[in-house]
């Protein structure tokens, strides 16, 4: 008992239609990330997730949920709102990539510049971000993370179980391969 009770943290909100998902629904391995666009560690994780996706191919799907730590990252929420507003126009993942690739340039003009670069309907984008249309959804992501034992950013779940420890390419790849081999 020296190390203490092990409390397995599990994803309480299952992956569903509401989520932003890359990869086939039939993939045997699912990687869910709770992330914050302004968090430098999430920025480090971004190319790592891409490398892991390249290795696993159709054996995995990847889900991103918002976990903005607004007390320490004042532009994390507008950035998440920008991703959702782009998502409403079918460009969530393109905005997601642009945000991580351009950390931490998330001023209002920066966000508009990214929306323009993606060919979005910019007036609609600006209105939706300014009116916080997607804040309830972001809040829902956040609270689902809290309830699931998210303990910092990024936090990963592999097939619904929190992945504790390192998240380099090799570790994540092996952890996903391990569950992908288990017959469903």
């Amino acid at each position: 008992m020296a190390i203490g009770q092990s409390r397995v943290a599990r994803l309480v909100m299952p992956v569903s239609e509401r989520d932003h998902v890359q990869g086939p629904p039939t993939a045997p391995a699912t990687l869910v990330e709770y992330g914050d666009y302004e968090c430098p560690f999430c920025g480090q994780a971004h190319p790592i997730v891409k490398a892991v996706q390249a290795r696993l191919g159709p054996r995995m799907r990847y889900v991103f949920r918002h976990f903005p730590l607004t007390e320490i990252h004042p532009r994390a929420l507008p950035a998440a709102e920008a991703a959702e507003a782009a998502g409403a126009q079918g460009r969530f993942w393109q905005m997601h990539d642009l945000l991580y690739e351009n950390q931490p340039a998330f001023s209002d003009p920066d966000l508009v510049r990214y929306a323009t670069a993606l060919g979005l309907d910019v007036p609609r984008f600006v209105t939706e971000v300014a009116e916080h249309v997607y804040e309830p959804r972001i809040r829902e992501d956040f609270m689902s993370g809290v309830r699931s034992g998210v303990n910092g950013t990024p936090t990963f779940f592999i097939n619904g179980i929190r992945h504790d420890g390192p998240w380099d390419v090799a570790t994540l790849t092996n952890a996903l391969l391990a569950v992908a081999r288990v017959p469903a």
């Binding site: 976990f67 730590l69 007390e71 320490i72 034992g149 910092g152």
Partner: protein
């Protein structure tokens, strides 16, 4: 004690041996008075009548941004919905806590278990004498000062907040479970 590891700044490489067992549910919480700022103190008895969350943690300034205290700070409104007070406790001094709290924009007190070092953590069974720091131990106390839930995490694993919220919710209907 077969081999001694040199601690590195990444706290998960500290020794893996555990602290004492943390006090368990049903135990009266040991009273304490600690400095929250260089010129102010906080006593556990100040919070009689409301739930209290005690979050012992190893050190200010851990090298991650979504660290345990920043996370709890973000979730503070949820704790406050249960009228619960959150107190962070480590062996860091009051000046260190002040700088850390300002840097992380924390809205709850950090208490300095500084002199005698770790005395409160020891009283709760939450001290790691081999490392000289508090363990990552959580206690949820009811309004009568009885521990209703406790949890000890491995040092490098931030426990999150789900267990705290579940404990607060389970206490709400009946404050005194026999």
């Amino acid at each position: 004690m077969s081999d001694t590891k040199t601690p590195t700044p990444r706290d998960y490489s500290w020794s893996t041996a555990g602290p004492d067992r943390p006090l368990e549910a049903g135990t009266p919480a040991p009273p304490f008075t600690l400095h929250s700022t260089p010129d102010q103190t906080v006593s556990l008895s100040d919070f009689r009548g409301q739930p209290v969350i005690l979050a012992f943690y190893p050190a200010d300034w851990s090298p991650v941004c979504g660290d345990q205290m920043a996370l709890y700070n973000q979730i503070l409104p949820e704790f406050r919905r249960h009228k619960a007070e959150l107190l962070g406790i480590s062996v860091d001094g009051a000046w260190c806590h002040r700088a850390f709290a300002e840097h992380r924009n924390l809205h709850f007190p950090l208490l300095a278990d500084f002199e005698p070092k770790g005395a409160v953590a020891r009283a709760y069974g939450a001290y790691r004498s081999q490392d000289g720091v508090a363990a990552r131990a959580l206690f949820v106390l009811d309004g009568e000062g009885i521990i209703r839930w406790s949890h000890l995490s491995p040092l490098g694993i931030n426990p999150g907040a789900d267990g705290i919220l579940e404990a607060l919710e389970s206490m709400r209907p009946a404050t005194r479970a026999a």
